[in-house]
Subunit: 193 residues, 2 copies
């Protein structure tokens, strides 16, 4: 925090309530989302895969057409699936990215029941399903097979998965300049080697 010579903290001026398209609803997972989006852009450009973020579903109530199509009344809808899907090495890929500020565990309350149902269906259809979980405190990201998370969600005795368990069961995702998250290397280790 910057302090002025008078010892008072510098406060940013209150800004208007605006969101750009890259912002998430509640700022949750924003940096992780950016990192994954930029990694996908890099990977897709390299033709290594074809994976995109699904746009946030929005319920449009009113559109003003006086100067082109201008949405003037709309609401966010819950995504009934996961954030990302696509194709890699001929296989259908589907995953959800979540982050936590906790040092000790990942709270399963971060995951929605409909996402679990969706990922079970992906596995049933023969697709590859996983989570990318970021521990912000350690600046670490892990790839975890969805089957493990689903089992913990449905049968686990605790409402969270400990950091130690995630280190043990997951594969840490290496970071680089480009792609920011080398998550396909972790996919390779988990599913293709």
């Amino acid at each position: 925090m910057i302090k002025y010579p008078n010892g008072k903290e510098y406060k940013l001026p209150r800004t208007k309530i605006t969101l750009t398209k890259k912002s998430s609803l509640a700022n949750r997972g924003m940096n992780l989302e950016d990192d994954i989006n930029m990694s996908n852009e890099f990977y897709n450009e390299q033709k290594r895969c074809l994976i995109y973020k699904r746009p946030t579903p929005i319920n449009i109530v009113k559109v003003d057409y006086t100067h082109g199509a201008h949405i003037i009344d709309a609401h966010f809808e819950k995504q009934s699936t996961t954030d990302y899907n696509g194709i890699y090495k001929g296989k259908y890929i589907d995953f959800e990215a979540k982050n936590t500020k906790s040092k000790t565990s990942f709270p399963l309350a971060n995951i929605h029941k409909h996402q679990i149902e969706h990922l079970k269906n992906v596995i049933l259809q023969g697709g590859i399903a996983f989570f990318i979980i970021e521990f912000q405190y350690y600046d670490q990201c892990f790839l975890l097979d969805a089957r493990y998370i689903i089992d913990q969600f449905e049968n686990g005795e605790k409402k969270s998965i400990s950091y130690e368990q995630i280190v043990k069961k997951g594969i840490e995702i290496e970071k680089s300049f480009n792609p920011r998250l080398k998550y396909l290397d972790a996919v390779d280790k988990m599913y293709f080697i």
Copy 2:
């Protein structure tokens, strides 16, 4: 058109400019879109596949949080991919739906260059890519392999594909009560038999 005894046509009262989430930007392909969405709902429920429409990407400019998150300024963005993707019989599926009012041909101007690029990448990655093309005049829908459309788009001498060619190269999609469009049967015939 309903006519009153005085011979005048009945006109619907002018309605407010509103769109529900099921409406498309310019009413283009609206019924076809509804039919496909409902067919996917049926197929997904039956666990025969897992295919969803990608939400329309929207650029959010301003959100009012005074009574929950309420979008008060936003614009439509161009979809950089196709409308539908998912998994069927373990294979990645990606397709675009288009309709035409023409009796004689499907105008290739209905397809965007970035959709062609996207579908080429799907094929490169080993996925199944196709178009569903509806001729409203004949109330007929056809499944066409994306490779044929891409070839016509890039190398064809005409700016449209004749109805006869589409009948010849495509597979007609049977209609039923549920699913409204039995398009997976056409996928089976085109790719799995």
